[in-house]
Amino acid sequence: MKILVPVKRVVDANVKVRVSADNSFIDLSNVKMAMNPFCEIAVEEAVRLKERGVATEIVAVTVGDEKSQEQLRTAMALGADRSIWVEQAGFVEPLAVAKLLKAVVDRELPDLVILGKQSIDCDNNQVGQMLAALCDMPQGTFAFHLSIENGRALVSREVDGGEQVVSLSLPAVVTTDLRLNEPRYAKLPDIMKAKKKPLDKITPAELGVTVSSSMTTIAVHEPPGRKAGIIVGSTAELVDKLRNEAKVIP
């Protein structure tokens, strides 16, 4: 079984981003970047499936500029066999990413595509579902458990009210949620070996895809700040404030 794992380079999860002075973009200068946490979980899940003998090959793929090759090397250090870099600088909208990934899917013919449910920069939670639609594949989103049984993917999903299990025919798209697994750290010998693993560059033109966009970000603002609060000295004082000042409890 071949697994395709799309990954994304994003701002490190611990960074608090700032808006540019003219409110036109997020200031990413000198900001630490990393692999999107949900993508790390996707890579880990693919690697575990390979270790269990279910998957035979893991191919990582990313859409981005030359710096995003770093995330492909990380994916290979963690266990991906080879990787594909779809060269496209600048911001690419989810539908465009999905179209590029579909072209990669058409070339690679994976049995399973595992990707993060959302990226922590745009917080869209769209690419996996869009890719599934374009490829006419079933989708198992927000997965916290995944197993392959009798040629189908059994996906346990986190939903608003609790949990749901669906069975998907292969090939299928699965998007990862937080509790699917705890990703490993890349070991130094594997990081060195990853430098020799194949990283193939391809352009949207070579994939036969025209990258287009339908959305324009007109402005970016910091959210309105909250008024400074106070520290109370006791539970009794807290209850008094909530009852008589804020009037939020009877």
Partner: protein, 308 residues
């Protein structure tokens, strides 16, 4: 032209977050239709028709839609999309699962989690865990949107919209529903509760969450939790408040033993009044709290319960 709202429901009951999606739709167009796709869902259809501003309820009642699998519902909505200038759903797991698939079928983009509408084609949405708000203009002919329901005051009831049956049945077997395990609680739903009492790693155990539950019950509140508490197994994932869990904005949010990581704040910082109870005076939660109490929660909670 008209705007379509996809009802959030479980076949038996209409989820009140739908009233907030209708409120968002009201800002886009006067003619609002609501789609109820499900199985044995007539009660939901009737309830949807009672929302102010709704002119028609479309009902697709068939076993094929029993669990609202996106593989069946997306093509269904796609078949009627040409009649609408915008299609909206709540930004819960059902809407998030469905709407991008629908958008791709229509070769359109999708705007997730909108918190405000500036114009027919311009929307505001949070990015970077809510640390920034982006104003986005879309050139798509049909706007496919998921709505952060905590940002829109729900519409009232008292209406009686007419119903229309949708006969289209999309059968597919690529995706099959196997089972579900949903928590049943007498408490209000987290997404629409006016008071939320939320616990974090500081509670220490699943058993200790009962201390919170008793306070929640005294206040008629919902119970929430941080990711740490869910990861530790203290409570189920359906209680998780945060960037990738539920987004809430109640009148009162009481955070107990929650440090206030960026990802948690993303899910609750728009609450009207925030209370933080934490033994660590440096916990970031105090930066967003209106009232902070630096104390041992195991001492505070019983005191709080007796004073309420």
């Amino acid at each position: 032209m008209s705007v379509l709202v996809i009802a959030e429901h479980n076949n038996a009951t209409l989820n009140p977050v739908t009233a907030s999606v209708v409120a968002a739709a009201v800002q886009l167009d006067a003619d609002i239709h609501v789609l109820v796709a499900g199985s044995d869902c007539s009660a939901v259809a009737t309830a949807a028709g009672q929302y102010q501003g709704v002119s028609r309820v479309l009902v697709a009642d068939n076993a094929a839609y029993a669990n609202q699998l996106a593989e069946a519902v997306a093509p269904l909505v796609s078949s009627i999309a040409a009649d609408y200038t915008a299609i909206l759903a709540a930004a819960g797991t059902t809407g998030k699962n469905l709407m991008p698939r629908l958008a791709a079928l229509l070769d359109a983009g999708q705007l997730s989690d909108i918190v405000a509408i500036e114009a027919q084609d311009t929307f505001i949405r949070p990015i970077y865990a809510g640390n920034a708000l982006a104003t986005v203009r879309t050139a798509d002919t049909v706007k496919i949107l998921t709505v952060r329901t905590s940002a829109f005051e729900p519409v009232g009831t008292g209406n009686n919209a007419d119903q229309m049956t949708l006969d289209t049945v999309i059968s597919q077997n690529k995706s099959m529903f196997i089972s579900e395990n949903l928590s049943t609680s007498e408490r209000p739903e987290l997404a629409s509760a006016s008071i939320v009492v939320s616990g974090g790693r500081g509670l220490g155990s699943a058993g200790n969450f009962q201390l919170l539950e008793r306070i929640a019950d005294k206040l008629g509140a919902a119970v929430g939790a941080s990711r740490a508490a869910v990861d530790a197994g203290f409570v189920g994932n359906d209680l998780q408040v945060g960037q990738t869990g539920k987004i809430v904005a109640p009148e009162l949010y009481i955070a107990v033993g929650i440090s206030g990581a960026i990802q948690h704040l993303a899910g609750m910082k728009d609450s009207k009044v925030i209370v933080a109870i934490n033994i660590d005076a440096d916990a970031p939660i105090f930066q967003v709290a209106d009232y902070g109490l630096v104390a041992d929660l195991f001492q505070v909670l019983p005191e709080l319960e007796s004073l309420l």
